[in-house]
Assembly symmetry: C2
DNA sequence: CTGAAAGCGCTTACAG
DNA sequence: CTGAAAGCGCTTACAG
């Protein structure tokens, strides 16, 4: 039972196993790796070696192997840790990354920081042999900064804010997703549709805004500038933005429906509306964007524009593996064109047919 | 602009920098590491070296360094990936792990699998030099299996299901948290209190059940066996368990309040109740356990027993670092006693004073 | 079928 | 103040 006593025990090495089996270290290496090179080990020695390795609990040292193979079998994931919290958007993506990287026999290491532009060197300095490639989640960078990334490491981005030379981007057609969602609201009888958007200038925010306007235009509805509310992509900001809109629009009509730029904003809005006694969906319909786990844990459940975030995360790994291989073996081909996924409208309890009655802001 | 063209470029090595600066590789090492050993580099050469390193974008290769220093500056995090999804419980903990490990200058690598007992070798085989220590999140192991973990790697567990020799556990006093919460419900006038529990036999589930009974006992309320509903720790199971209870109790009185064994179960129950037209909190009060992010995104917001999961994750890293140091340097002392955090009752909108009226199951 | 040698990129004593 | 040597644990040719 006191197996765990000698805590200072060093892990067994190839040489240890060789000594125990009465062969050289490299015979052990050959036997264990079943390498089909010149070294063909006799069945007898192989068995001896395997037994010795088993008995010593031998595990090849990854650092040593990486040094010669130039492969850590680890991919890096860089993400901004806004408000010191991993958000639901990231969690969905990370699920996909884990799924795919484990399928590829890779580990995933997470690198977090607070600001892309200011901490670029943290990304660069992670490319020091500990990872074979890097996924940038929603990077917000100038083209100049992106160009300073080390060129001995392959990169893939998810939802990049612009095109970066040499970095493959994975994204989705957010604009048409937004348009379809607002179309769906309109077809359910809603006319006064509010959009609580992300920060202007961010490509994701702008695409949703364009889709929103396009849908209104499709239906011949004139856009009311008072119904475009700027926010940031968090629940706290969504709540704040909605509350301040309500405050400055007392007595005026509430919107029929609210299209939020992501699920987090929608949740913040639901909170704000609930706190003012506005009932969802009876008095106001609402939806989010992304289809994160959180959209299914609200009551009522949140309608949303689904981006297949998990698949996108998985795809990022697939592409990255291709790029890593391409950089190592001259044989395999690199992958350079962006990948665009389809979005889809998911209707849940938070959107109902327009009642015809308009409630005023309390 | 075509900096990124030569993609096959190899990262610069110590020797490369030395060549550029006209000194030996080890002079570069000494200068860059500001090692206070014998090697004291003149100011002039130091500057030359730093310039050369900068120009070449030199980054010490981690694998090479790890090989000699026996430190990867990376900690492993093992977690069961139930239903192929990282749950909110894990996300809170992981936030703490990231926060603390980055404070210690460490990276965190996540290892996921489906079943503790069956995939123990995955945990063991991760201890191959790629990590310096490992955090086991909510491990579900027999003592015998835990004893097979390699003894050259230090371990820390969070919410371990039992005591494992040589593994430091971080936990919280869940029983008294449960008791206080049910006490709070009782003091708000609720008498018929249901508990939707986790699976019997799991230490976390049993502690909540004991706390629930203790509170009823405190108040002289006789426990109604029909009000103990068994579930699993997920929203889907919480929903399912509640629906099946409702189905088999048609026409009988609803509970006044429901104490759920975690936030996920509570969210599932809210969904089930909402689908049957039962209004929360007007007709039934409800609460969860953990205080995950999800508890703040329900409408109404979920009352819950707070475990400081994030702090607990951070603490796990702190303890692990101590253990790693202790194993390396004979000087510093190991840390072996478990750490127990306090829980606290968090009251939000989902619990209100008892109305006095009892609604029947629809 | 098997071993001795060289080298991956670094650091740590040890000489000058 | 600085360099030559040895070694961390592995793999990859190259000899026998």
């Amino acid at each position: 039972m006191n197996v765990r006593k000698k805590k200072t025990a060093r892990a067994a090495t190839l040489a240890d196993v060789g000594r125990a089996a009465g062969v050289s270290a490299m015979a052990v290496s050959a036997a264990l790796n079943e390498t089909r090179t010149s070294a063909r080990i006799s069945e007898l020695t192989r068995v001896k070696i395997l037994e010795a390795a088993e008995a010593l609990g031998y595990r090849p040292n990854v650092a040593a192997r990486a040094l010669v193979k130039r492969r850590m079998n680890t991919i890096g994931v860089s993400v901004v840790w806004a408000d010191d919290e991993l958000n639901n958007y990231f969690v969905e993506i990370f699920n996909g990354i884990i799924e795919s990287s484990s399928r590829h026999g890779q580990n995933a290491t997470v690198f977090t920081f607070h600001n892309w532009a200011e901490e670029m060197d943290k990304v660069s300095s992670s490319c020091d042999g500990r990872i074979d490639g890097m996924i940038l989640v929603a990077p917000l960078l100038t083209v100049e900064l992106a160009a300073t990334l080390p060129n001995h490491t392959p990169f893939v981005a998810l939802h990049a804010n612009t095109e970066y030379e040499g970095i493959v981007n994975i994204e989705s057609n957010e604009e048409s997703g937004a348009r379809e969602m607002v179309n769906a609201m309109i077809s359910m009888g809603h006319r006064r549709i509010m959009h609580v958007s992300g920060p202007r200038g961010l490509v994701g925010a702008e695409r949703r805004i364009r889709g929103y306007y396009a849908a209104l235009n499709d239906a011949g509805i004139e856009a009311d500038p008072a119904l475009l509310v700027l926010s940031k992509f968090t629940a706290a900001d969504g709540c704040r933005s909605m509350l301040s809109w309500l405050k400055s629009n007392k007595g005026k009509p509430l919107p029929d429906a609210i299209f939020c730029a992501n699920d987090a904003i929608a949740i913040g809005c639901m909170e704000a509306l609930a706190s003012m006694g506005v009932r969802i969906p009876d008095e106001v319909s609402i939806c989010g964007f992304d289809d994160t786990l959180a959209a299914r844990t609200t009551v009522p459940q949140l309608s949303t524009v689904r981006q297949p975030l998990r698949m996108m995360g998985a795809k990022a790994v697939d592409v990255l593996m291709r790029r890593i291989d391409a950089m190592r073996d001259k044989g395999s081909e690199d992958m350079t064109s962006p990948v665009v996924f389809d979005t889809s409208v998911v209707l849940r309890g938070s959107i109902v047919k327009a009642s015809g009655k308009t409630r005023l802001v309390p």
